[in-house]
């Protein structure tokens, strides 16, 4: 249990609130195994049908959603399970994108080797971020990861000979056999599904439980014999590894990278996807990514002031569903189930 408020730093309290109570509760089991299976089959059927039912622009939106959902879920591994909210994951994601584009367009290398190098570079960046940030918590962790992300952004902006500066790097990096949209779509669907499964296994493993223990009480974990900084370091690195994988897929998809890919806005958007979907739910990242990307594109079709509309939507979500859309749906289903039983 955390120390009384009066004994703690006020700023630490603010940061903890971002990953606290309602946002990180163990969700109640609200659906039977059969209902879960039906929902899963329906989701798979819908996803498989996408490139045939809505080819073109809308399929590319789903591809973008799947890639950013992976980034959001990697952020949730830290925010929802370890109680550490990162604003540096956009930079880790973007580093992988830069490395892939640089290796293929400037270096003339293989896209698969580029992918490996991109993930390796992102993981190394996550190791550096983790070494510097794991001994902090709350808003200090938030600010430190933000500052590290800003350093990466500054390097990408100024290291023109490598990154192309403000112009960025451009060029097709995906192999030729992925050129047809349906093929590329299924490649991304399989890759992101595999990553989602791996993240789910990680979150529900004994190691995932230790991260939840750290979120709940670091002092208790220490006196039980856990090396808290080591566990946080590994957790951050794994989370960065998945953000890097998402970044390499983004390079394949977007064929362009610029400093805006590693900017603070990227991290914030990833975090907003997690919050809108539900912190600590993992799949909330997928829901949040779908809602935000769909709204961005839908609202911008009608008005140039779409960021204002999105801002309003975030406020409404925070007020009426602070546990996120997935958390809200779970609460609603649990309430209906209880009413039905009574």
């Amino acid at each position: 249990m955390r120390p009384p408020l009066s004994m703690r730093e006020p700023l630490e309290e603010v940061g903890d609130a971002l990953a606290d109570d309602a946002l990180t509760r163990t969700p109640p089991r609200v659906m039977s195994s059969r209902a879960r299976l039906i929902v899963a089959i329906a989701c798979v059927a819908l996803l498989v049908a996408v490139p045939f039912v809505v080819p073109g622009y809308k399929t590319s939106l789903v591809i973008e959603t799947l890639i950013f959902a992976t980034l959001a879920m990697s952020i949730d591994l830290l925010a929802g399970y370890a109680g550490r909210v990162s604003l540096g994951h956009g930079a880790i994601f973007g580093i992988a994108t830069y490395v892939v584009l640089y290796h293929v367009t400037t270096g003339g290398g293989s896209p698969w080797v580029a992918m490996l190098l991109g993930v390796a570079a992102a993981t190394v960046a996550a190791v550096v971020f983790a070494l510097l940030a794991i001994r902090t918590s709350g808003v200090y962790f938030l600010l430190l990861t933000l500052a590290l992300g800003m350093i990466v952004w500054g390097m990408c902006l100024r290291w023109t000979s490598v990154t192309g500066g403000e112009n960025g790097l451009r060029g097709t990096v995906a192999p030729a056999w992925l050129a047809a949209q349906p093929v590329f779509y299924f490649f991304i669907l399989i890759a992101t599904s595999l990553m989602t499964w791996l993240m789910w296994r990680f979150a529900h493993s004994p190691f995932g439980l230790t991260l939840q223990g750290i979120r709940e009480s670091e002092s208790r974990m220490r006196t039980l014999g856990y090396n808290v900084p080591l566990h946080l370091f590994i957790g951050f690195t794994v989370s960065g590894f998945f953000a890097g994988l998402a970044g390499t897929l983004y390079a394949f998809f977007n064929s362009f990278v610029s400093p805006s890919t590693v900017a603070l806005a990227q991290s914030v958007e990833g975090l907003l996807m997690v919050i809108v979907g539900g912190v600590g739910t993992l799949f909330g990242g997928l829901v949040g990514a779908a809602v935000i990307i769909a709204l961005e594109n839908l609202v911008s079709f009608y008005t140039e002031r779409w960021p204002m509309v999105l801002g309003f939507m975030f406020i409404v979500t925070m007020i009426f569903a602070p546990e996120g859309l997935l958390g809200f749906a779970r609460t609603l289903l649990a309430r209906r189930g209880a009413e039905h039983r009574s």
């Binding site: 990680f202 006196t223 014999g225």
Partner: protein, 224 residues
């Protein structure tokens, strides 16, 4: 202290009892002196290393994992001793020998029927029992109990006292307790602290009869 010894630390508020526990467990650095455990100087070891050597503790203010289930709380204590805590793709539920140890800890604490419930839904008395179960599940050689009966009802205090009495004699026990009669009934030796120093040490009957202890607890006759 000898192995298997049971000792109570008593003293008025602010005497330094919990600070002493924090120093032994490694949660606060010591400004002078050494901490020795099992023939080894552990003064510079971090908290988790001391816990791995066998120093377990409970807290004066309940320190659990409120959003996790009762079973997950105990599981964290049990898996702290194994390599499985680093398993990243294995199933999260207890496995093999862990199952028996989790069941044993839940049965001892009387919380087996509530194993799936979130810890935050337990009553205060149940949370104190769980706190105790967590400390025991990590198989300590030295157990530091910081006011285990604080805030419990009379009936719950009796249960807690009998649980402590039933602990194996091989376990070294240090107990902080404000209920002097309860504390003296559970231990072989007593240390009375005052203003951060040891005021007097002795057997329970000697401490009961000690004038300085009575003075510290009750105040000087002319103070009354």
């Amino acid at each position: 202290m000898r192995q298997g010894e049971r000792r109570a630390i008593i003293g008025p508020n602010g005497a330094g009892k919990t600070t002493l526990f924090n120093a032994i467990a490694g949660e606060v650095p010591v400004s002078s002196g050494r901490v020795r455990f099992a023939g080894r100087d552990v003064t510079r070891l971090r908290t988790h290393r001391r816990a791995a050597l066998g120093i377990g503790r409970t807290y004066q203010i309940t320190n659990l994992f409120p959003a996790l289930s009762v079973e997950q709380n105990v599981q964290l204590a049990v898996q702290s001793l194994t390599r499985r805590k680093f398993s990243m793709l294995g199933g999260g539920a207890p496995k093999g020998e862990e199952v028996a140890r989790v069941d044993e800890a839940l049965a001892t604490s009387g919380l087996a029927a509530r194993r799936r419930d979130p810890t935050r839904t337990l009553s205060y008395g149940e949370q104190r029992q769980l706190e105790f179960a967590l400390a025991l599940a990590s198989k300590p050689a030295l157990l530091l109990l910081d006011e285990p009966a604080a805030g419990l009802s009379a009936a719950e205090r009796v249960v807690m006292a009998s649980t402590i009495s039933a602990l194996p004699r091989s376990l070294t026990l240090v107990l902080i307790e404000h209920d002097i009669e309860l504390a003296l009934g559970l231990v072989d030796h007593v240390t009375c602290m005052h203003n951060g120093t040891v005021l007097v040490e002795g057997r329970p009957d000697e401490i009961r009869a000690n004038a300085r202890v009575q003075e510290v607890y009750l105040g000087r006759p002319h103070d009354a």
